[in-house]
Amino acid sequence: MSRWIIYSFLIIAFASCKGEQTVALDATNVFESKGVEIPVYDFESFKPLLTIGDGKTRVINFWATWCKPCVVELPYFELINSKYPEDKVEVILVSLDLPNQVESKLIPFIKKQKIQSKVVLLDDPDANNWIPKVNKNWSGSIPATIIYKNGTVNFYERSFTYNELEKELKKVL
């Protein structure tokens, strides 16, 4: 995979609308298959995504294709993503699938479900090190979700219905 694709993907993905505060994440790799591109991050390179202070609300959902309750609630995140304008709300689906299942499971899933939200892969095996950095109360089970805008950060280690999710979103919008 060429460096060019990696960097261009990142800049498109994470530049804010007016370009006031561009947060460029360095992907360690990019999986590409069937027209789907999944950038891969270790925690250090992923971390800046949790604290972008550009006034946009970000809904960051930790999930995996093998996690049944995660897959059940995914359409609600998709609905949030399509319902709210891009410059107000951004949904990022952080997959914790194993890297060797990206091409066999994750990409086919994204194609089949026609996932429109941004999907990234967090691939950092030293989970005991990074789980507490996402949130000190997180046990590490998924689904888990962060909803944040600037300095307001809410963390949820639970499943959502659509109404519950939208209610939580509106608290920080």
Binding site: A64, W66, C67, K68, P69, L96, D97, L98, P99, Q101, P125, D126, A127, N128, N129, I131, P132, W138, S139, G140, S141, I142, P143
Partner: protein, 208 residues
């Protein structure tokens, strides 16, 4: 007007109590054991149709209790390492006891029959028990698979000494630089304090 006030008050009380109830049930699931707590014994069905309790192991010095299952890729990634733990530590007095906490209705792949098949395929050398009725895992506080509890047998009972992950690399055993469970058991065998008592890990949520 007065009726309205009463109605509002009643609705408020209901809303508050509903919230409180909700909170209690959530806490009950998540709390579980802390380091130093005495872990409950159990009598659960093994894949060979016998029933296994910790009390059956008269010679054991403690146990490596691992909540794990068939369907979870993280559990599967650790299977060889779980076998290895039993090979290494059963002779030293710390056998592995694996418990599948999932309700097979939620995950058919985790049914009792499929547990038998998986244990045979992988050649499990340790009991692989079904938490039938999902009554044991909430007492321990296991939230995901794999989730390990190392307990030490004392006169008080089986005291929890370590809670968390097997090591610090789920993808590659050879790349793991911290073998938490091994280090815990070695420390206990030497009568020393467990160096790292609690770790966090990504795992598949347990489903009742």
């Amino acid at each position: 007007m007065k009726t309205l006030k009463i109605l509002v008050a009643v609705a408020f009380v209901i809303a508050v109590s509903a919230f409180a109830l909700n909170k209690v049930s959530v806490n009950k699931i998540i709390k579980g054991y802390s380091i130093g707590d005495v872990a409950t014994d159990f009598k659960l069905k093994n894949i060979d149709e016998s029933y296994v309790s910790l009390a059956d192991y008269k010679e054991a010095k403690g146990f490596i209790i691992i909540f794990t299952c068939n369907h979870c890729p993280y559990s599967v990634a650790y299977e060889d390492r779980i076998i290895e733990l039993n090979t290494k530590f059963k002779p030293l007095g710390y056998p592995v006891i694996a418990i599948n906490p999932n309700n097979p209705k939620s995950y058919p792949e985790d049914s009792f029959d499929n547990m038998k098949i998986r244990a045979k395929e992988k050649g499990f050398t340790f009991p692989y028990l079904l938490d039938d009725g999902q009554s044991i895992y909430p007492q321990y506080g296991a939230t995901k698979t794999p989730h390990v509890y190392v307990v030490e047998k004392t006169i008080k009972g089986n005291v929890v000494k370590y809670i968390g992950a097997i090591d610090n690399n789920y993808k590659d055993a050879n790349a793991a630089t911290k073998k938490y469970v091994e280090e815990a058991v070695y420390a206990l065998l030497k009568g020393e304090k467990v160096p790292v008592q609690i770790t966090k890990a990504i795992g598949c949520s347990v489903k009742a």
